[in-house]
């Protein structure tokens, strides 16, 4: 058996940057609708943060803002020490967002998919192999076409692609959606391992009990604002009704 290098889940985060996400009074407008209405959030390295809240509260927009994918109209946003507005291309490169889709090519095998995403950032074959090993995809699944995988296996492959891409901050939007019970358990185990290995993860989920067991902290997103139940309203304001 060939040796594969160890892989750091969550990439090689600059140890000098302890506050991975820092949003202050951020306003994001989608069309004419203020999806984030003065949201503030701080996430430290190694945390697994659960974003809870009803549909349309702004959870997905908050994740996309952390990934540098939305335009901040007002407020300040820093992710991995970078200004989200000014350095959005770098923020995108260093974060990984997995939403309802997995970003896989159904005709390619698991290994080819992970290899492709790794190649886009110049990952070596060893790094790709390590990502496959880490997500337990190096065995019989490696040569299976992604289109033939179960929902849970597809999610695993998407996470392996995040590792191969060296994403330093994982942003997961409803990662349990569409998975059966076994797939959910499998995902929980993977996220647990990721956090234990030092990855910084933000999860938006309606599966509060399940995701809450994994999370090191929970905040609620209500009406485009972030409420931290641990210390009251982190915005210092009441949410909009």
């Amino acid at each position: 058996m060939t040796d594969v290098p160890t892989v750091r889940l969550g990439g090689d985060v600059d140890p000098g940057v302890d506050e991975v996400v820092s949003l202050r009074d951020v306003v994001v407008v989608l069309g004419a609708f203020p999806a984030l209405a003065g949201a503030s959030l701080s996430v430290r390295r190694g945390e697994m943060l659960l974003l809870a809240g009803p549909n349309g509260a702004g959870k997905t927009t908050l994740l996309r803002t952390c990934a540098g994918l939305t335009r901040i109209e007002r407020g300040e946003g820093r992710v991995l020490g970078l200004d989200v507005r000014r350095d959005s291309a770098d923020v995108r490169r260093r974060t990984g967002i997995v939403g309802h889709s997995n970003g896989l090519y159904p005709d390619l095998t698991v290994a080819e998919n992970v290899n492709f995403w790794g190649r886009t950032v110049g990952a070596t074959s060893d790094e790709v192999e390590a990502a496959l090993v880490r997500m337990d995809l190096a065995g019989r699944l490696r040569d299976v076409a992604a289109g033939r995988l179960s929902a849970g296996q597809k999610r695993r492959t998407a996470l392996a692609a995040l590792i191969a891409r060296r994403a330093e901050l994982w942003l997961l939007d409803e990662p349990h959606a569409g998975l059966d019970a076994a797939g959910r358990d499998e995902l929980d185990a993977l996220l647990g391992a990721a956090v234990a290995a030092g990855a910084t993860v933000i999860v938006a989920s309606h599966e509060l009990e399940r995701a809450g067991r994994l999370a090191t902290r929970r905040v609620d997103v209500v009406g485009g604002r972030v409420i931290d139940r641990a210390d009251g309203a982190s915005d210092g304001r009441e949410p909009r009704s």
Binding site: R64, A67, G68, L69, S88, A89, D90, V91, R92, R93, R94, G96, I97, G99, H100, S101, N102, G103, L104, Y105, P106, D107, L108, E112, F116, W117, R119, T120, G122, A145, A146, K154, R165
Partner: protein, 228 residues
Amino acid sequence: MTPTLRVARAIAAKDLRVEWRSRVVTNQVLPFSALVMVLFAFALDDDGITERVAPGLVWLAVLFSLVVLVSRSYAVETADGALDQLRSSGVEPAGIFFGKAIALAVQLLVLQAVLAGLAVVLYRASIGAEGLALFASAALLATVGLASVGTLYGGLAAGVRGRETLLPLLVLPVLAPVLIGATRCTESAFGVEGVETSDGWPWLGLLAIFAVLFSVFGAFAYGPLIDE
């Protein structure tokens, strides 16, 4: 290797692997193009006319097939949100553009070789050594233009509802200069109605300008375009 080149290589290799694996080009696009050529021959039903219009028919078949190839290229990207993932991963947009254009160009070149062969058989077109060189040069330059426009407008249509019907409306009018230039070159290459091969070389200039214009413009415009 620069990030743009690295991404272009990864995307082109991935797209060609997907096509090789799925065999959509060989099992569907090539038979479609051949069918278009055969139907043209049935519709015209006159050897004199078919010989005269064969060059135009070859390039019309190429254009129709391009629309199918581009649709296919972006269907693969949107099936499981891969294009959105590429965008949100900050992957170099110019690299994505060049990678997809290169993969499309390879498929188009194979297609053109088959269609030119069919034209010789079906429409009794004849081609000499100099004609072959002219045709090959025209095909190469036209392919760069076709692949660049196809990739650019395919990216634009990818996020739009009804993209399958929108794509030909966007692409075909823009490609009129390629159709004209490539047809004139091919007429000269085939020696249609006594046209000299040397008459075709100036048309290569039009194809070259088009190819450079759209490949450069595409590389710059692709990022903002897929971001919207």
